[in-house]
Amino acid sequence: MKSYSKTALAVLFVLLLSLVFFGCQQKPGGGAIGQSTAEKAFVAPGEYDSHYAFISGGFSGQLAIHGLPSGRLFKVIPVFSVDAEKAWGFNEETKPMLQTSHGFIPWDDSHHPDLSQTNGVIDGRWCFINANNTPRVARISLQTFETEEILEIPNSAGNHSSSFVTENTEYVVAGTRFSVPVPQRDMPIAEYKGNFKGTLSFIKIDPEHGHMNVEFQILMPGFNYDLTHPGRGKSHGWMFFTTYNTEEANTLLEVNASQNDKDYIAAINWKKAEEYIKAGKFKTLPSKYAHNVYDEGTHSAATTMEKEVRVLDPAELPGLVYFLPTPKSPHGCDVDPSGEYIVGSGKLAAALTVHSFTKILKAIEEEKFDEHKYGIPVLNFEAINAGTVEQPGLGPLHTEFDGKGNAYTTFFISSEVVKWKLGTWEVLDRKPTYYSVGHLMIPGGNSRQPFGKYLLAMNKITKDRYLPTGPEVCQSAQLYDISGDKMELILDFPTIGEPHYAAGCPAELIMPNSKKYYKIEENNHPYVTRSEADSRVVREGKNVHVYMTMIRSHFSPDNIEGIKVGDRVYFHVTNLEQDYDVPHGIAVLGATTSELLIMPGQTETFVWEPKEVGVWPFYCTDFCSALHQEMQGYVRVSPENSNVKLTWTLDGE
């Protein structure tokens, strides 16, 4: 009897154990993320995300806004590529935004968003982002969430080390990836070495309106310039750029740019540069580059073609540039929140190299130079080295910081994020990414005040992570909770284009400033129609200007006659609504140019050149109201020689 009950007890115990281990398991398909973990990324219907994330669209040329921790996509802001949805680059008002010295370019490759800062802290005013192919920097308003300005960068090619912001948004920088003949000229490629140059551009930001201008460029040796970060705190006034191909190879860089044991981080003293500019120690190079500014008052953009740029030559200007030897083609160049540590991620190196700003200053003072390269002092590696993170992973790329003394580095080849400690250089934690992570972003993680909490890893490869969609599958971002000692993967979400890099901050820095509508009385568009009574049609020879209004749920006018084949009809359409979230759209059958999506209080224009006689309808394309389907009109198009009178009416009047 006693032994029986012992057996029963043992059986019961085993059953219980199995229940404990298996009883509460996730149902199939739950994956590696447990329920309590999922709740960390769950934002209930009707509630807000705690953070904004501005994620680059990479080859889409745009910028996507997501919420964190949910990963929900809120908006894709058109920046460097045309966007039919928002008529960006299609309507008359925004076409100038995509103007360059090479003409109208409808696409680009957007890379590194960065947010404006005041005293090293994200201030929520503007987001900057660079175009890689046709070198440009854009400024996006975080009130209207529209691209307000695009500045082309002269003497540059492959604007990769951009658009990082100094701690009082004094400058946004742009460094060329490719070295090229400066100025551009016809010459043999084989004569690259010693003849091609790289420029590092400092774009001055007007503190009130954010307007940009190329204040000066530094003419550097013909290396490739990869990434950059500004000094902060104690190193404020300096900018650090990674270089590779210090071999100056012009072919098969895969092999030929990987020969040197060390390349450099170029340390630029931009306060010194300002002194040299003030002292007139610059050359003025003739140049040609477009400067496009969108005016919120006229709801229109204009292009100015700039004609020259000021250039500083570091070989002739002591104290302007120093080279910090850094192993193996460094990619990321990241400065910790204190400004003391400069982390170089040698993408082919087995270790992470960290330089000390204090030691750099001392080495400069004591002239611990190994040599001069093109007249620029190369500091002694041992003299400036703060430490090394040994064997952290394979293929280090980028590092951000949590403000608690920890650094987080991505590793492309070993597909992981590694947490390590500043000062002791010990590895504290590592988590896999799915797969092949590039950049990472901690909100404020490249400023003096990181907000911590989350880490977003952006992956180049997804393979089996989502339902397949043919040969092209989306790229992705992965969210980790970094509030504890160990990183915890809490979400995995798809992104547009390539999520190359991102910037993020707490929502409260931006949310209260978001614009709800444009005041109609402040609309200074040259073709604005401020009330229905002012709507009209004006013929000027072959050009016809339609001054049209839209309000729930009609156009005024909505019947137009007297248009002729061969006319060029400008529809200048003003949305009279003064209500949040009530845009209207307009599209006319046969228009080859654009449909419009017009925000409340805004005026936009599309051109229609009717080629066929007939009566052609137009309608509202944005489901605006209960009578949206009634929001429509007709344009009568008569033969070129017809004498149908020009009339415009609404309800017969």
């Binding site: 007890l9 019961l12 115990f13 219980l16 229940l19 404990v20 009883g23 509460c24 329920q35 209930a44 219907p45 009707g46 509630e47 709800k516 509508y517 729930r552 749920s553 609504e577 003064q578 209500d579 949040y580 009530v582 605006c624 109201s625 209960a626 009578l627 009634e630 309800d651």
Partner: protein, 183 residues
């Protein structure tokens, strides 16, 4: 004793499983986050919508109380466009004694909503669009007569005393409650 402990553990395990299972299947009612639907939106910058105009009018406290009792606030903030005929407090007071009090009782919510929607028409009717001799289709499903003499307009027998443009339509202040026919 051991058996008792094991049973306790078993109970605990079952209980915690049941708890997590419950969360997963039923969950919270997230609709409760916005109890008034679109009327929960806080927006003090845009042009005022019909509800905001009514709430801001000292002459329409009875109407606002009725709209709240009928729980149709969200209709008056909807994209519209809507034309709303807003009876003044005096208009409600002119109804037979006790009518308003009775209508405001929770059990009469449906009837109250029916009466109130008899004061709202889809689309923006203002100025010359209010034409003499026409019939206006109200949100209640009833048609009401429009009468015009010069600039004076009556709708369902109620005279328009003044009009206010709203972001989502128009509000006409009227001197009578437009009581719908019962069928």
């Amino acid at each position: 004793m051991k058996i008792l402990m094991l049973l306790l553990i078993a109970l605990f395990v079952f209980y915690s499983c049941a708890e997590s299972g419950k969360q997963e299947t039923s969950g919270a009612d997230y609709a409760a986050n916005t109890p008034k639907g679109q009327a929960s939106v806080v927006d003090n910058e845009s042009a005022k919508n019909i509800l905001q105009i009514a709430v801001g009018s000292a002459d329409h406290t009875t109407l606002v109380a009725a709209v709240q009792a009928a729980q149709i606030e969200h209709v008056l903030v909807n994209a519209g466009p809507l034309t709303v005929f807003a009876p003044t407090n005096a208009a409600f007071a002119a109804l037979p004694a006790g009518t308003v009090e009775t209508l405001l009782k929770p059990e009469n919510k449906k009837k109250l909503a029916f009466i109130l929607t008899n004061h709202a028409a889809p689309s923006t009717y203002k100025g010359r669009l209010l034409k003499d001799g026409t019939k206006m289709y109200m949100a209640s499903g009833n048609y009401v007569d429009v009468k015009r003499e010069g600039d004076e307009v009556w709708v369902g027998g109620a005279k328009i005393l003044g009009s206010v443009d709203a972001s989502n339509g128009v509000v006409h202040v009227v001197d009578k409650v437009i009581v719908p026919s019962e069928n």
